[in-house]
């Protein structure tokens, strides 16, 4: 660790991993509810478990992004963080607000929660992924703005690099697009249209910039390849991301009541969306192939390569699978979407956060890399989580194909719940794959507690 203020990243990473565990537990609960409908009912209804599962995902990824920014910006800018104290205050504000929100979801019926938290003053609740009560949403904006102020001031007083510029662009975009969460028009077409400004332009727009910046930073550190080479790749990737991803929003506008031309715009541009992920994968492998040093942190290198591959598969291949309007006509809202969502989030954002944590945590704990033993366990966790996620995706895809056939293509289409019964075997297999994923995550946690002599660098 080159700057003492980078230490503020540590609690963010710890909280991120803690919330990640919570997310997976709720995922398993929900997976079981798919096959045992009244499991934990009425204590944790399905809609609440789903809300907690997805909200925890978003919150822990945000914790990860903030931790990553606090770690990499001082090093890139070659200066201490503008205010480490502000970073710590924001950490506690965000953690307490997040925890209270989850407690609210679990303890109070959602309609009561809406009433209690002033939703009638400004109606923002009830939309998928943006279920947070109004005070939480305001809290997110306050935390995001203060965080951005801190990071931007640090960049302004230090060295400016392509990585910090791209990261700032992504983080500012993240904050700005979240403001659409406060705009909830009565017209349901406009409501959906602006809802996607947050959801799509986050995950298929500005978050990809954050991903690119984080991956580029780690690759510079672990490969020793010239910054200029990596920065050129980064520019190409973010250009491709913005060119394809912005108008790619159109793939959400096929059936919501928007004009028909969106079927062409959405199909064409979103069909191009795998290209930046393709470039990201080739970029990661190319940098590792051209490495100038053998960094002792093998686990971080594995996570970095895994990010490229899994994001290409999850976001690229599984996204393309159902993105063309004539195909989406049949697949829309089926388990194919769930398959894509799982692998894309894991491959792109979970893995890039774990890449960063894997690289930075040993340094934050005073060593260049963890011991060989610890890294072996971490690499086991990589394979357990990644392979089980591949199977989760395949089982959901299988369920989706059958669902579409039986419910939408067959000459005598069957009702939704009847079909759900018929594909339950795949839900069971998905649940078991989820258990393996949890074991992988626990192995990942355990790797932090494995001691031994830190691994050392070797010349390439």
């Amino acid at each position: 660790m080159q700057y003492s203020s980078q230490a503020v990243a540590k609690p963010y990473f710890v909280a991120a991993i803690g919330l990640f565990v919570g997310q997976i537990i709720f995922g398993l609960i929900m997976g079981l509810q798919y096959v045992i409908g009244d499991f934990l009912f009425p204590a944790i209804p399905f809609n609440v478990a789903r809300m907690v599962h997805t909200n925890l995902l978003i919150v822990w990824l945000l914790f990860g992004f903030m931790g990553a920014a606090y770690y990499l910006v001082p090093e890139e800018s070659e200066t201490e963080l503008w205010s480490p104290k502000l970073a710590i205050i924001l950490f506690w504000v965000f953690l307490v607000a997040g925890a209270l929100t989850v407690v609210g979801y679990l303890a109070v019926p959602y309609a009561t929660l809406a009433k209690m938290t002033g939703n009638d003053l400004l109606e923002t609740m009830g939309r998928e992924f943006l279920e947070q009560p109004l005070p939480t949403k305001i809290g997110i904006v306050v935390v995001a703005l203060a965080f951005l102020f801190n990071i931007t001031m640090t960049v302004l007083k230090g060295r400016k690099t392509a990585i910090t510029s791209v990261l700032l662009l992504g983080l500012w975009g993240l904050a700005i697009f979240f403001l659409f969460a406060f705009y909830n028009p009565v017209n349901i077409v406009l409501d959906k249209m602006f809802w996607w400004y947050v959801v799509h332009l986050w995950v298929e727009g500005v978050w990809e910039l954050i991903l690119g910046a984080m991956l580029a930073f780690v690759l510079i550190k672990i490969t020793g390849v010239d910054r200029e080479v990596i920065e050129k790749w980064l520019y190409v990737i973010i250009t491709l991301t913005l060119v394809t991803g912005l108008l790619g929003t159109g793939h959400h506008y096929f059936w919501i009541g928007t004009p028909e031309y969106w079927q062409w715009v959405g199909s064409v541009f979103s069909a191009l969306e795998p290209i930046p992920f393709f470039a990201l994968t080739v970029f990661a492998f190319n940098m590792v192939n051209r490495r100038r040093r053998e960094h002792p942190n093998k686990a971080a290198t594995l996570w970095a390569l895994g990010t490229g591959v899994m994001s290409f598969l999850g976001a690229g291949v599984w996204g393309f699978l159902h993105t063309l309007a004539p195909v989406n006509y049949y697949t829309h809202g089926s388990q194919i979407t769930a398959a894509h969502g799982h692998m894309a989030f894991y491959g792109a954002y979970v893995m890039v956060n774990l890449t960063m944590i894997s690289y930075a945590m040993p340094l934050l704990r005073g060593r260049q890399a963890n011991s060989e033993k610890s890294q072996v366990l971490e690499m086991w966790s990589f394979w357990l989580m990644t392979v089980s996620m591949v199977f989760i995706t395949l089982f959901l895809t299988a369920a989706g194909i059958l669902q579409i056939w039986l419910q939408r293509l067959a000459s005598d289409p069957q009702p939704f719940m009847v079909v759900q019964d018929q594909v339950s075997l795949f839900y069971w297999m998905r649940e078991w794959a989820g258990v393996i994923f949890l074991i992988g995550l626990l192995a990942y946690l355990a790797s932090f507690f494995v001691g031994g002599r830190p691994a050392e660098a070797r010349a390439s």
């Binding site: 393709f278 994968t281 080739v282 190319n286 290409f312 291949v317 895809t397 056939w405």
Partner: protein, 129 residues
């Protein structure tokens, strides 16, 4: 084997891997013809890195044709076009094998960009020497 950055073979190695990927992704058949044309050029085959990547990509493209078109067709012909289970099998099969072949090509392309040889797992021919 590491080739220097100015090795002319590197350029052709990159072209070969790109054509392999294009054959799988955007221009099936046409890109394969491009690969065959490249293979027919004697000046390209004398460059060790280019020759190595060309052999690999040609062999892998032929395997890709058999695995993706041939086996998919067999599944559909045996199972029947109107059967839910044949479409279930063929879609899952195609996604898995196509993605795997593309990923191998991406690794091959990154190796070519770095001036290094690459052997496709399972389907790539061994070194003749």
């Amino acid at each position: 084997m590491f080739s220097p950055p100015d090795d002319p073979g590197r350029r052709f190695a990159v072209i070969a891997e790109s054509l392999y990927l294009a054959n799988l992704l955007i221009a099936p058949g046409v890109a394969f013809l491009g690969l065959l044309c490249l293979w027919r050029r004697a000046d390209v085959r004398t460059l060790p890195l280019a020759r190595q990547h060309l052999r690999q990509t040609l062999a892998a493209s032929l395997w890709a044709g058999v695995l993706l078109v041939g086996l998919s067709a067999i599944i559909l012909l045996v199972g029947g076009f109107a059967s839910m289970w044949s479409w279930f099998a063929v879609i899952l099969y195609f996604i898995v094998f196509h993605s795997t072949l593309v990923l191998c090509g991406m690794v091959g392309l990154s190796r070519a960009l770095a001036g290094q040889p690459y052997r496709f797992p399972l389907v790539g021919p061994g070194d003749p020497t």
